[in-house]
């Protein structure tokens, strides 16, 4: 791998990006998706988060341009030069341009946008071209399949030389989104583990951990079976941070870093959106847990040792939040990893313990082992 002279890099770990101009050869939704996945290829290897904005100036301004487009690097029509990007820095730094004269595609009948965008974002983050033909940062085009994409070793070494590896969050281990070919099933029965996220989905209860989730009936222990997250939620890949369902709407929400997805059952409803839609302050970059309270029609979001309350009817965050979790929910200790409401109780998952909290009595009525939910 190679870095640019002077090794320019971003000094912050949350970068904004904006797609200022689209291309007629793909739908906007497909462009959004390809760009999102191309950025995720890098954020799975280093501690960088990317937040999409739809107005104003972003760190990484993305656009499809034709010919001479004002940056003294004119495009040359079909084939030849496909795209370029500028090294990290103010103004033009990080900006990424695609040649609109090319036929862009999500597949292989043209130039695959995910493939080219993933390469260009390597430049936007500080990598120059690599002489390793297997590297993503090799200068010439070679199709890469977006789903199940693994960042080649040379590129991982290069980007981590600039930003270091993606750290493990205390209590919420995150590992690069490089799903192994046969993800091992985490041993939830050992006492130290907890779940990443828990939600109802229709008549089922889904419990997420690393790259696996368990499906079970809400009230029955029978028929619990693990599946890979990618098998049912390809976009989520692994390490879901939080999830909740608004049953009366038939919609569920899945959170990962600063993004969330809406589903109807297992069907994703469009591309990822940013958590700032809910009204979170910008310094919140991820959610630890979420739970919808049916009677109150409010969703509680847990971040660190605090929580927010979102009014689902008014579709806005309530005032006077965040509040301290332990002060409001007496008897619930430690950071909340996951939460779900069932039959008037909120189940708070914190490490190997699950606190059964009676909403009426406003107190914990029992403490269970988290692993017991999947038959341990």
């Amino acid at each position: 791998y190679r870095l640019f002279p002077g090794e320019p890099k971003w000094k912050k770990n949350t970068l904004t990006y904006r797609i200022a101009k689209y291309t007629p050869s793909m739908t906007s939704a497909d462009v959004d998706k390809a760009i999102e996945m191309a950025l995720q290829a890098w954020s799975s290897a280093v501690p960088l988060n990317f937040v999409k904005i739809n107005s104003g100036v972003a760190d990484i301004m993305i656009s499809f341009e034709t010919g001479d487009h004002g940056d003294s690097y004119p495009f040359d029509g079909p084939r030849g030069t496909l795209a370029h990007a500028f090294a990290p820095g103010e103004g033009l730094g990080g900006d990424t341009h695609f040649d609109n004269a090319e036929k862009w595609t999500m597949g292989t009948n043209g130039f695959n946008l995910f493939t080219v965008a993933a390469h260009e974002f390597g430049h936007a983050l500080g990598l120059a071209h690599s002489a390793d033909p297997s590297a993503l940062m090799y200068p010439t085009y070679k199709y890469r399949h977006p789903y199940g994409f693994h960042l080649p070793k040379d590129d991982v070494k290069g980007i981590q030389a600039l930003y270091g590896p993606r750290k493990m969050f205390p209590g919420k281990p995150t590992v690069p989104n490089v799903p192994p070919h046969n993800p091992t099933i985490p041993d939830l029965c050992d006492s130290s583990s907890s779940f990443d996220a828990v939600t109802t989905l229709g008549k089922e209860l889904l419990l997420f951990k690393d790259r696996i989730f368990w499906r079970r009936q809400v009230h029955l222990m029978a028929g619990i079976r693990p599946s890979t997250i990618t098998s049912s939620f390809p976009q989520l890949m692994s390490n879901v941070d939080a999830a909740y369902e608004v049953a009366e709407r038939g919609t569920a929400y899945f959170f990962k870093g600063p993004h969330y997805w809406i589903t109807r059952g297992f069907q994703m409803q469009g591309p990822p959106r940013t958590i700032y839609d809910f009204g979170f302050p910008r310094y919140v970059q991820r959610i630890d847990a979420a739970v919808y309270l049916k009677d109150a029609q409010k969703t509680l979001f847990f971040v660190g040792d605090e929580y927010y309350s979102y009014d689902e009817r008014k579709m806005k965050m309530e005032k006077d939040y965040p509040k301290n979790t332990e002060e409001e929910f007496s008897g619930v200790n430690g950071q909340i990893d996951a939460a779900v409401e069932l039959n008037g109780y909120i189940y708070f998952f914190s490490g190997p313990k699950t606190y059964k909290y009676d909403i009426e009595k406003e107190d914990v009525v029992s403490v269970l082992k988290s692993g017991s939910w999947i038959g341990c």
Binding site: F4, P5, Y73, F75, R79, G80, T81, L82, A83, H84, A85, D99, E102, F111, V116, H119, E120, H123, A128, H129, A131, P133, P139, T140, Y141
Partner: protein, 85 residues
């Protein structure tokens, strides 16, 4: 030019022009020759850049626009230069 090519005159002229644009774009350091600058064919500067390209892509370093070098030049690619810019 003859020293650079083994192809027919017309092909060699097209390839030469293609190569000249490519080398200017991707193998000219900042402050280098501006586009449109007339470079005497087979000049030191062009041969030097051809060798740099061949070394970067792991091709045989001949300084000539041989078949494998022209094949590489014709491949769709990223617009960021291969040399420090």
């Amino acid at each position: 030019a003859p020293s650079l090519f083994a192809a027919t005159p017309r092909t060699s002229k097209n390839n030469y022009r293609l190569a000249q644009v490519y080398l200017h774009k991707y193998y000219t350091r900042k402050g280098g020759h501006q586009v449109g600058e007339m470079v005497a064919r087979g000049s030191n500067s062009i041969v030097k850049k051809i060798k740099e390209l061949q070394a970067f892509f792991g091709l045989q370093v001949t300084g000539k626009l041989d078949r494998s070098t022209m094949d590489m030049i014709k491949k769709p690619r990223c617009g960021v230069p291969d040399v420090a810019n």
